[in-house]
């Protein structure tokens, strides 16, 4: 026997056998992932306990005991002790969505919002028929949206001071996101280039913008720009903020994309060169598609950060959703209602950020072609 073990050789063809019981299927999964070791078992039980002790309370507060119909916080509290008072959202949701936009003109931002999704379809869906033409049409979207929201040329003009709520967040966020990516790409390519002047300009821009808090840039947009610009020239405050937010995000974007560029093996650049592709051809066809793919998590991270950073505009007096909390609280009837307002705002932001996150995961899966 022991001799046999020394020089074991399979003397007959071994059939393929099923795995031992309890190692596959649901039971196998639970055993392997939840109760594989004493520590794992304790952690599993603790987690179950944590979920059990928090979720029912939150569900009760938000749904079961909540109040939707009331005219003031006192009425709410009279109806329920421990429930959320969503009545304030019901009364004022339009303000959180549109700020002080004239209510008879709500159709304009709504239409702009719907058109945004139509314009995004060709950008996000690469299998779309006639995508080229559709993309050209999407390019016109910023102008159409600008016209719809601010008016003019036949539409009743609406001043920037009336913009607020989610509408303002979307204006700043969407323009920041759509302009920061191309600017970031150009900055990243400049910073990785061999041309010393182009490179130093990119480095100075990126390091300066990254080294300064966004709030400082917003104050510059709010106060200082007026001193620098000639008398009589007056940029719209929202436009100024959009420019600053875009610059801020582009600097971060540039570094994220530069990371992707650096992660590509040198051989990719060499192969493109050896085939005779020009610099721009190799960037467009070989380098950027791969570098951007590697950078997707970082890019979306920057997008989400930018989208949430738009709330900082409340510091210079713009009425983004957070900025609208103060006027609501100033109302005698709703004085003291904090949690519900912030929960609602958090919910709005979560929807958009979560959607971006999911899309990025879908994109990563789709672009995975089986290489390292």
């Amino acid at each position: 026997m022991s001799e046999n073990n020394f020089a074991f050789v399979s003397t007959s063809e071994k059939p393929q056998l099923p795995p031992p019981q309890g190692t596959t299927g649901a039971i196998g999964w639970v055993r392997e992932n939840l109760f594989s070791s004493p520590l794992n078992t304790i952690l599993t039980l603790l987690s179950i306990f944590a979920v059990y002790s928090t979720v029912p309370g939150v569900v009760n507060w938000a749904f079961v005991d909540s109040v939707w119909n009331a005219n003031s916080l006192d009425e709410c509290r009279a109806l329920t002790e421990n429930g959320a008072c969503w009545a304030v959202i019901r009364e004022r949701y339009h303000q959180f969505l549109f700020g002080f936009y004239p209510s008879e003109l709500y159709w304009r931002p709504i239409l702009a919002f719907v058109l945004l999704f139509l314009a995004l379809v060709p950008a996000l869906w690469d299998g779309m028929p006639k995508r080229g033409t559709a993309l050209m049409a999407s390019m016109a979207y910023p102008f159409v949206a600008f016209w719809l929201i601010w008016g003019g040329f036949g539409l009743e003009p609406v001043s920037s001071t009336k913009l607020g709520g989610l509408l303002l967040t979307m204006i700043i966020g969407v323009s920041g996101i759509s302009f920061s990516l191309p600017i970031g790409i150009v900055l990243a390519l400049s910073r990785s280039s061999n041309l010393p002047i182009v490179k130093s300009l990119a480095v100075i821009f990126i390091e300066f913008i990254r080294g300064v808090p966004l709030i400082t840039l917003l104050f510059v947009a709010h106060v200082l720009l007026n001193y620098f610009l000639p008398k009589g020239v007056n940029f719209d405050i929202v436009l100024r903020v959009v420019i600053m937010v875009t610059f801020f995000a582009s600097a971060y974007m540039a570094e994220v994309i530069r990371g992707g560029l650096a992660a590509l093996p040198k051989g990719q650049y060499e192969a493109a060169d050896a085939l005779g592709l020009s610099y721009w051809q190799s960037m467009r066809l070989i380098i950027l598609p791969q570098a951007l793919k590697i950078s997707i998590p970082g890019i979306v991270n920057t997008f989400i950060g930018l989208f949430k950073d738009t709330t900082l505009v409340l510091i210079i007096g713009l009425m983004d959703p957070l900025g609208l909390v103060a006027p609501t609280l100033a109302d005698q009837r709703w004085n003291g209602i904090f949690v519900e307002l912030y929960a609602f705002i958090a919910f709005m932001f979560f929807i958009f950020c979560f959607a971006m996150s999911r899309y990025s995961m879908y994109l990563e899966r789709k672009l995975h072609t089986g290489h390292r």
């Binding site: 051989g267 051809q281 066809l285 072609t369 089986g370």
Partner: protein, 265 residues
């Protein structure tokens, strides 16, 4: 060392025509430094059309650097390189012109992982030669058939074995219809059983009269296909000769040492 691999493939030397008058590459007095390090020292080399040259030498001897200078993946600082009658200077137009005529295969294949095999092959003809897509695909399929993997055309490089990837890389270069092919250790990253399939393709190319410069340690390949073997050491061309005398009767001490090290193990 790989004679066994090549035992059944005898290159037919009678088919290989070398021009007496037509110069493909002429390098005169080329020098290159990496910082203070003198990596290529006074390289002189004349390659006639149809010649198949194998370059060998210990690692760090500058053999890869030398062939990479020919298509300007590396820049030489002194001397002259003329490829197909065009002198290589820092003029981007000249560089692009030369790169169109010179194909290159790398040790690590360097296929584009985000494109299919077919797209890898059609990319340069479409964008550099401005060829219609349909025609480029026909040519690509022709060369993929020649390297015996037409059925992989719609897969991605990551799904192919190393040997298959290197054959695609050769097909990709051939799609540009190059006048000269450079090979930079094309089999060094391959498993032993895949080396033969790549060498077979290269032998076929040689038989068709392609001008080839090949950095390799496949001495069997050198013996059967090359009409000249160059030995480099410390940035210099130490010895060059026809394969038979080169292997049987090396002149230089360093060549003898190198050959004894790679042949007797």
């Amino acid at each position: 060392m790989s004679d066994a691999n090549l035992a059944d493939v005898q290159a037919d030397r009678s088919k290989m025509q070398i021009s007496d008058t037509d110069v493909a590459i002429e390098i005169t007095g080329m020098n290159k430094w990496y910082g203070d390090f003198h990596v290529l020292r006074d390289i002189n080399l004349k390659v006639m059309r149809g010649e198949r040259i194998v370059i060998c030498g210990p690692s760090g001897s500058g053999k890869s650097t030398m062939i990479r200078c020919i298509n300007r993946l590396e820049e030489h600082q002194k001397g002259q390189i003329v490829v197909d009658g065009i002198e290589l200077t820092s003029d981007l137009k000249k560089i692009d012109e030369i790169r169109r005529e010179v194909g290159m295969c790398f040790q690590h294949f360097n296929l584009f992982p985000h494109l299919t095999i077919l797209e890898n092959c059609t990319l340069a003809p479409i964008w550099v030669r401005k060829m219609p897509k349909k025609q480029a695909e026909e040519i690509a399929m022709h060369y993929l058939e020649r390297v015996k993997i037409p059925e992989q055309a719609n897969k991605y490089p990551g799904q192919l074995s190393g040997g298959q990837q290197q054959r695609v890389a050769i097909a990709r270069s051939l799609c540009m219809n190059p006048k000269v092919m450079l090979f930079d250790e094309p089999t060094s990253a391959l498993d032993p059983e895949m080396i033969k399939e790549v060498l077979d393709v290269m032998i076929g190319l040689a038989e068709e009269g392609m001008t080839m410069l090949c950095v390799t340690h496949e001495m069997g390949f050198a013996r059967k296909v090359a009409n000249r073997v160059i030995f480099m050491d410390q940035g210099q061309i130490v010895e060059q000769n026809e394969p038979e005398p080169f292997f049987t009767n090396p002149q230089h001490e360093r060549t003898q040492l190198f050959l004894s090290q790679i042949l007797n193990h």
